[in-house]
């Protein structure tokens, strides 16, 4: 046990070192790209706590990112009683507000199981973008809200992109540690017990309600922080910045990357970003195959590429994060099937 802990600490130290040193070797824009990957990573960390550790599927986490993003936008543009809040300080607030929303969703979620929960959360992903359009005085409607361009604080002489990179990955590493501690704690064990068998967990005295809603709240907090950072990085929010498909991408990143594998989640985040923004590179690789000549500029080709990659990756790595996914869902489907 102790050896495992030492190994993990060592791994973490290596990661932190890479994160710190990387901008030296990459272009400024690449740093921005990695910052966005980091934002997806933070959201995925939260989602893994929810789906990986407490076994609840959410197809709506883009909505929590949107809550975080809009909180930051409103606080930094409209402010409180006209007093604008500096974008940096809005990040934890955004996380907390998203977290509260998560708790609120977590309560009715207790009554829903498996795919019903998945579809309801998908309904949230679909419905949420409508709210800024309806309450456009507060949220800006489709015109959206324009934030001040992100600038490094305290007059640090670094580029905006590098600042976003360090800010995002700094927060990501902290939240990663927090997530690791949570998972190792009593609460984490309770979550795992719930995931493996709700019946057994309740028999052992674990309060399903408390832990399941807590998982929702925490995962929403993470998503809110990610959304807040995303709003700062883009200096703009409107419903299309957090579209329905974002919730889908998050779940894809989770399944592909891995639930309990840290490196996996980073890879999942990277994949989401890469497929969206470097479809031409992927098309280039595919075009090495004989008889294929895809033009990534032709409408429809980027979607096809994304779709094919998803299918192939899932066919090759069906259990994405290893047996963990299987263990997550066997108890769920087990309720509907009778075991023979």
């Amino acid at each position: 046990m102790k050896a495992k802990l030492v190994l993990e600490l060592f791994g973490f130290a290596v990661l932190a070192l890479i994160v710190a040193a990387l901008p030296r070797f990459i272009s400024d824009f690449r740093a921005r790209e990695l910052a966005i990957v980091g934002m997806y990573f933070i959201a995925l960390l939260g989602l893994s706590i929810l789906t990986g550790y407490s076994g609840q599927i959410s197809l709506g986490h883009g909505a929590f990112m949107a809550i975080g993003g809009y909180t930051t936008a409103i606080l930094s543009v409209d402010g409180i009683y006209g007093h604008q809040i500096r974008d940096l300080w809005t990040i934890p607030i955004a996380g907390v507000i998203a977290g509260i929303a998560g708790l609120l969703v977590g309560v009715p979620a207790l009554r829903l199981s498996g795919l019903y929960l998945a579809l309801i959360t998908f309904g949230i992903a679909v419905s949420f973008p409508q709210l800024p359009k309806k309450f456009d005085h507060l949220f800006g409607g489709t015109t959206g809200k324009i934030l001040n361009l992100a600038k490094p604080p305290f007059g640090l002489s670094t580029t905006t992109n590098n600042w976003m990179y360090y800010l995002t990955w700094g927060i990501a590493l902290v939240l990663l540690v927090a997530a690791s501690l949570l998972v190792r704690s009593g609460a984490g064990r309770a979550l795992k017990a719930i995931r493996d068998s709700e019946v057994a967990a309740t028999s052992s005295g674990i309060s399903l309600a408390r832990y399941k809603t807590m998982a929702f709240g925490i995962s929403a907090f993470y998503a809110g922080v990610a959304g807040s950072l995303y709003a700062i990085a883009n200096a703009y929010v409107n419903p299309d910045v957090f579209p329905i498909i974002l919730s889908i991408y998050l779940v894809v990143g989770l399944a592909v990357g891995g639930l309990d594998s840290l490196i996996g989640l980073i890879a999942g985040a990277g994949l989401i970003y890469f497929l969206q923004n470097h479809a031409d590179t992927v098309a280039g690789w595919i075009n090495h195959l004989p008889a294929l000549n895809l033009d990534p500029k032709q409408p429809g080709i980027p979607s096809m590429i994304f779709g094919v990659v998803l299918i192939v990756v899932m066919l090759l790595l069906p259990t994405g994060a290893g047996g963990l996914l299987r263990r997550v869902f066997r108890p769920l489907t087990g309720r509907i099937y009778t075991r023979s």
Binding site: A20, L149, Y166, V241, P296, P299
Partner: protein, 397 residues
């Protein structure tokens, strides 16, 4: 962490001291962000039209010996991706200017950062008035097509003058696009805004607008303004026909392509009025037109992955019209091409004879009037095609 940040304080990306980014003795690099995936992907054809036109111009020697490289990136109509693409264009691709990016909110999202970086945001592909109007705050930005609100105003003025006792029903898309048209309409009605007896907005997430049209029908209006986009406009015509309603219909320009008007019930479509400023390659009147023939020959020779359908696609033509103006602008900016000189050219433009817009249109700008395309004609639909009538009128704010 602050120590780390301080220690690795890096300056701007690969700061090679270049006189003007994106301009060399042999090349001008322009960039754009457009939807190539998602619901708005067909609009991305504008960029493909531009690409083909630039290749044609390059083949003839380019502009002052410089060939135009056009890099366009997919943003899926997501402003977050548009921002990312634009930053990539400026920082990684080092483009000279960003040109004809598509979408109102996408362009709003990048406007501040482009102006901050003093990169020209040229010929924005959106009819929102702000891009031409707010130049004091955003001097590096300029629009292109006639603003939607002006279009609405023209319909209002026409209705007041030519419809007896107009009772107007309005179907509008519930976003800036539709609301701009509606606001313009109200302005055009002047003192007669009470003529609007019903107005119903629909959300783009609707499956069908029949319920909305049904609601409008109940108002017994004799004029219907269709300020709807694409398939919703088609559904509106369908609903009007099914409800046995015969109002005077005005349909907004974006949805007025001949290909669309031809597939709706003609008894509802006949007599509809719209504005026009570009040449629609699917329209019978332009079949033998030199400009459209040029368009099709360029597309066939220089277009990438185009098929016969695309030769009738107005998005490609719109792209070529904008590209033509871009080339005019580059020529006017002179051999000593800088970002400032191209902005000067763009705000002192007088372009005649753009082969892809209506004959007689003069694309004109001044530093305080930044709406290049402001002349339109009215047209009426009958016998399966549009028939322009009247003279060129102004749609200038």
């Amino acid at each position: 962490m602050c120590a780390i940040v301080g220690a690795i304080a890096v300056t701007s990306a690969g700061a090679r001291p270049v006189a003007t980014p994106g301009v060399s003795a042999t090349e001008i690099h322009l960039g754009s962000s457009v939807p190539l995936s998602g619901e708005a992907a067909i609009a991305g054809n504008v960029a493909r039209g531009i690409e083909a036109y630039f290749k044609y111009v390059n083949d003839k020697g380019g502009v002052f010996g410089r060939k135009i490289t056009f890099t366009y990136l997919d943003d899926g109509y997501d402003p977050g991706r548009a921002v990312n693409n634009t930053i990539r264009l400026i920082q990684q691709e080092q483009v000279f200017a960003v040109f004809s990016s598509l979408g109102t909110s996408n362009n709003l999202a990048v406007r501040k950062l482009l102006n901050d970086a003093k990169v020209p945001q040229l010929y924005v592909s959106s009819g929102a008035t702000t891009f031409g109007r707010d130049y004091k705050k955003y001097p590096w930005t300029i629009g292109y097509i006639p603003p939607y609100s002006e279009e609405g105003e023209l319909y209002g003025r026409y209705a007041v003058k030519n419809v007896k006792k107009p009772k107007i029903a309005v179907l509008y898309q519930n976003d800036d696009y539709g609301r701009d048209l509606l606001a313009g309409l109200k302005r055009g009605l002047g003192s007669k805004t009470k003529s609007i007896v019903a107005s119903v907005g629909y959300d783009p997430t609707s499956a069908d607008v029949q319920p909305q049209v049904t609601q409008l029908r109940a108002s017994k209006a004799n004029v219907l303004m269709v300020f709807a986009f694409g398939k919703f406009s088609l559904q509106a015509f369908n609903a009007v026909s099914r409800l046995n309603w015969k109002p005077q219909i005005f349909v907004n320009d974006v949805s007025s392509a001949s290909a669309l008007m031809a597939i709706v019930p003609q008894k509802a479509a006949n007599g509809s009025i719209s504005i026009v400023f570009g040449k629609d390659p699917a329209a019978p009147i332009w079949r033998s037109d030199k400009g459209i023939k040029l368009f099709q020959s360029i597309l066939k020779k220089y277009g990438s992955s185009v098929n016969s359908r695309d030769l009738q696609d107005g998005y490609f033509t719109a792209g070529m019209a904008t590209a033509y103006t871009m080339v005019t602008t580059l020529k006017k900016a002179g051999k000593n091409l800088t970002r400032q000189s191209v902005m000067n050219a763009a705000t002192h433009l007088t372009e005649k004879g753009n082969p892809f817009v209506l004959p007689g249109i003069v694309i004109r700008t001044t530093p305080t009037s930044r709406f290049p395309l402001t002349q339109v004609r009215l047209q009426r639909w009958s016998n399966n095609s549009w028939h322009p009538f009247g003279k060129l009128i102004s749609a200038k704010p």
